[in-house]
Every structure is written in structure tokens, then in C-alpha cells.
Symmetry: C2
Subunit: 117 residues, 2 copies
Amino acid sequence: MNELSKAVCEACRPDAPLLSQAEIKSHLQLLSGWEIIEEENIQKLQRTFATQNYSNTMTFVNEVAALAESENHHPLMVVDFRQVTVLWWSHKIKGLHKNDFIMASKTSDLMSRRDVK
Amino acid sequence: MNELSKAVCEACRPDAPLLSQAEIKSHLQLLSGWEIIEEENIQKLQRTFATQNYSNTMTFVNEVAALAESENHHPLMVVDFRQVTVLWWSHKIKGLHKNDFIMASKTSDLMSRRDVK
């Protein structure tokens, strides 16, 4: 478990600064399988997780949702038959906050614990 | 409840014919709020459902997933904080089958029963 997984989200204020590109690069090195995408000038963290069947898909989706509620920070999830794509970004600041990297790391941990490829 | 909601999906064979545009138009008239979109030459049925909170979002997502498992036909769901976009199409025939309209109608019924706007 890396340092991001041990952290907790702080309240994200609308005037919180976006992470710099150097900070993004640094945080991204702590994560496996995540990439930065940009949609309508908003940078987002994205990873697609493969599952073995639809039951595993929905278990994972519900675990991510429970994590989201516990931290009061919610992702976009694209739920397919045997894969789930998770996107994290901070709506209030229209881009990436350290919270998003914390949540991405915790999302990966959920899948790792379930031992689903 | 319309006639589509009363129907059950039949097994969709890879050689099953796509619905004609006239059939699509006819079926679509039985549905409220659904539209036809096209992605990479594949026609899909899409509707976005608004919810009141994340708990309602996840309840609806799980109900749609249970419906999908019961009919062995699975949608793509885009799960946001207070909205869920559901897309139905038939992978085997790369387009729309009557099954997709049946599932769309049943999806709408799930939301109607829950009385979530």
C-alpha cells in the first residue's frame, strides 16, 4: 500500500489550486495502470479494470461506490459486462486535486484485495 | 406498462437480423425518454436517468444489473453522482434487436416504480 492509499481526502474548496503538471507526474508514478486524459479542458485520472464476470463487475462497482461515499468524493464509472472504467477528478476545481490520486490508489487497492485480474 | 415490458428477451443469435429503421421507429414510439445514438456505426438506445442522491443512483444501478442478469442481456451504464446513463444494444449483431427495446422499457419501469424523478 503506497502513501496515497494511507491518506484521506481533505475538503476540496472551489478555490483550491489545481495540481501542477510536476505534481501530477510525481503522484502518477505512485499509481499503476492509471493515465491522465483530458476532456473539455478538464484533466481526469482514468483506469479500466477487467473482471472475470458480471457478478465481479457489480461487486467492484459497489465497493468503489462505498469508498466514494465514505470519502464524500465520487467518480464517474463506466460499467460494461466484464470491465469497469473509473474516472476521478474534482468537479469544484475542474481538474485534478491530490484527493483524486488518493481515491485512485484506494480504488486500485479494492481490486487488488479481491484478486480479480 | 407497455407491450415491450411484458415481453421477454429471446436468445439473440449472431445471424439474427438487425431491426429495420421502420421497426426501430415503431418500437421507439412505445418508449419515453430514449433516443437512438450511433457510435462506430453501431446504433444504440440511450437514456439518462436523474436521481435524487448517490444512494438512489446505486440502488437503480443494482436494479438494472439484476434485470440484466435475469434476462442475460447487459447494458453499458455510465454512473455519475446523481445520474445514470443506460445504453442498450446487441453486441452479437452490432446494433439493435427487439431485445434492446424490451430491456429499455423494463429499465424505465424500474425507475418509474421507484418514483425517483
